[in-house]
Symmetry: C2
Subunit: 403 residues, 2 copies
């Protein structure tokens, strides 16, 4: 009996132009286009193994070792159904193909980062799910075509189908057929772009992005102006900046759009806050860091951006990390030594420090734990098909027990 | 020799529809109309004595006991010059009037609250300055006419020329002649409106409102939409709510407009933050307090609003203070006992408590000092002319030494 199984990994992406608001909540069609940087799967990834077998009783899903119910009509069920439907087209066109579309699937998925870190795990998760089924079913679909399906799992998941710099074009069709991701530039175009993720502690659970964005759509008078007038211009300008590798412009737009997303969240009734005092302090540090550079005749050197939570993602060309990491360590002392897995600092020890001329009064020093971890990564590639040795499903068709 | 001297007090006002942005920075003409509640001078006031004397060498000003330079062409100089010019008209029409407009003035002003409290001291201060000169000069000017002048001292000072509920109509004239305050309703119309001010500690000095609002005008794409489309509707709706004593609508608009003001501050480049984690927690408490009421078939019972700083002002009909004060005390324990100067609680001790059904998880309890003081007050009257016994200037024409 043949084994039909495939394993893929998919990356996290962090938006520079933010997705916030759906015009169709079932199909997950956004109220504006968005654009993100795909982060390197060497550091952050979801890995998924999918297996089709006529002996399975039903479709089943395990996330990080725990079985999750696949709710009928829910987002996971929709993605599986759409993927089976694409497989059916292959089978209809090639009668010799095994009828995998009729077999139940077992899907096993793991993130290599804690869900509690507040990173966009659902984007990587649904991208890995769709990619693994595409590999299992040997589909001829392009990443853009697959993004139409992952979008229905989690909107921003459509952008994790590509590496590099990725736009999600909102489209206009009522059926969502033109609302998909496209590559603006591959990883290789601008590999200097790195990201420092500051994982920020938060006392309270924020509003979920699904609930929050719809409350913004319903109540924020400012959102409509953002959608109609601001985002279209910014999408155009940031794409040009990426193609020209103009970090200064890229950074300014990224920061402005992060701020505007949080502004419309605050303009929501009742208001939504995702950033806290630690997030604000990190913004103050990056603003001062850039001011110092610009006043000395230089350019903007770093861009902060915040998703629906307090974590900061700082985009910067690699060369600046040697300044930014000590800067963050100075204000946010860490319990553990900085893990220099990129070899930025050689054998030198990495201590807190501010650049010469930096106005240290822009923020206070926080206690250990305010920033509970730092993750250094960079722009990365799109989903990867992995070898059988990385499969998460064992010969029995069930999740392997991991050590 | 006659003594020409007058003493007045003027109130603080806290806006419900926020003033943020100037179309003319010299004349202080706003980009949108605004509306405020005047707070009771029994609790918060600026007191000013003005004296005109031909023997004085020049115009001089003392604020809270310290002499301040009157900069040529500055805001204080402009207000004094305009007031002298109105006096000159009186003298020209009545040749028997003493020529006070030609005498230098000594002006002595005090606030009864610490400037460090972050309350709108400049509004009360310029309103008291203009009122005291108007009394000194025996001007026939109406409060609206005087508001044209206090506006040039500090924009929001124009609203402190009236008690009750006050609109600052932005006007359209280039010379500012139609940008003044009008009374929407007097204090006596709706005396039930009370205010609880939570004075919030802040680690860092925020952006000054003068600098901040112009940066918003220059960089926020959302501000223009607020100015053109949102504020005009809200002005109309909140005036109707005040006239109808419809607290539910008044409160909703007040909270929405506070949030939108902070949203456009955040949409500024670099972003401006005035609220901190304590401010956010107070919002969460009021949102939950209102939710509890509305879900039990009631109405919105309290409205938070924040100016250019972290302090919360909570507007509520008097009857709710007996719930709101214990609620705030529960989450923000105070070093000192609550000063029940309004006699809300009778002989009962005032302890922290939440209403039945309140979801206590919406905020964490903060340490003593996070809210460093509570001030309970209510809607109040306009500037008052005080008796000679309250003068701040002594017989020698200089500030009295206060104990």
């Amino acid at each position: 009996m043949a084994v039909y199984q495939a394993t893929t990994s998919a990356p996290v992406n962090i938006a520079c132009i933010k997705y916030w608001g759906k015009r169709d909540t079932k199909l997950i069609l956004p109220t504006n286009s968005s654009l993100s940087v795909t982060l390197d799967q060497d550091h952050l990834r979801s890995t998924t193994t999918s297996r089709a077998d006529p002996s399975f009783s039903k479709d089943r899903l395990w996330l990080n070792g725990k079985e999750e119910e696949i709710k009928e009509g829910g987002r996971t069920a929709t993605c599986i159904k759409e993927m089976k439907s694409l497989r059916k087209q292959v089978e209809d066109a090639n009668p010799n193909e095994p009828k995998l579309s009729t077999y139940p699937v077992h899907i096993c998925s793991r993130n290599n980062f804690p869900t509690a870190a507040g990173l966009a795990s659902s984007a990587a998760g649904f991208a890995a799910l769709v990619s693994s089924l595409a590999a299992l079913y040997a589909l001829p679909a392009s990443p853009s075509q697959l993004s139409l399906i992952s979008r229905q799992g989690s909107g921003s998941a459509c952008r994790s189908l590509f590496g590099g710099f990725v736009a999600w074009e909102m489209g206009t069709a009522a059926d969502g057929s033109d609302s998909y991701a496209v590559e603006v530039a591959p990883q290789s175009h601008w590999p200097e772009i790195h990201a420092l993720i500051c994982v920020v502690s938060d006392d309270k659970k924020g509003t979920s992005s699904t609930a929050g964005m719809q409350r913004t759509v319903e109540t924020s008078p400012l959102l409509q102006h953002r959608i109609k007038h601001v985002v279209p211009e910014r999408m155009k300008a940031i794409k040009e900046a990426i193609l020209a590798k103009d970090f200064d412009t890229f950074a300014k737009i990224t920061m402005q759009d992060s701020n505007q997303f949080h502004a419309v969240a605050l303009d929501t009734d009742p208001p939504i806050f995702y950033m806290n005092d630690v997030s604000r302090a990190i913004i103050a540090l990056i603003v001062e860091y850039n001011r110092l550079s610009v006043e000395n005749g230089g350019k903007v050197k770093a861009a902060y951006t915040y998703d629906a939570g307090p974590n900061a993602v700082i985009y910067t060309p690699k060369e600046n990390l040697k300044e930014i990491i000590p800067l963050i360590l100075k204000y946010f002392p860490q319990a553990e030594k900085y893990n220099d897995h990129l070899g930025l600092f050689g054998t030198a020890s990495v201590d807190g420090a501010v650049p010469a001329g930096f106005n240290e009064a822009v923020a206070k020093q926080f206690p250990v734990g305010a920033v509970k971890g730092l993750i250094t990564t960079r722009v990365g590639d799109g989903p990867r098909v992995l070898g059988a040795e990385e499969a998460l499903i064992g010969p029995d068709g069930f999740p392997k027990q991991l050590a």
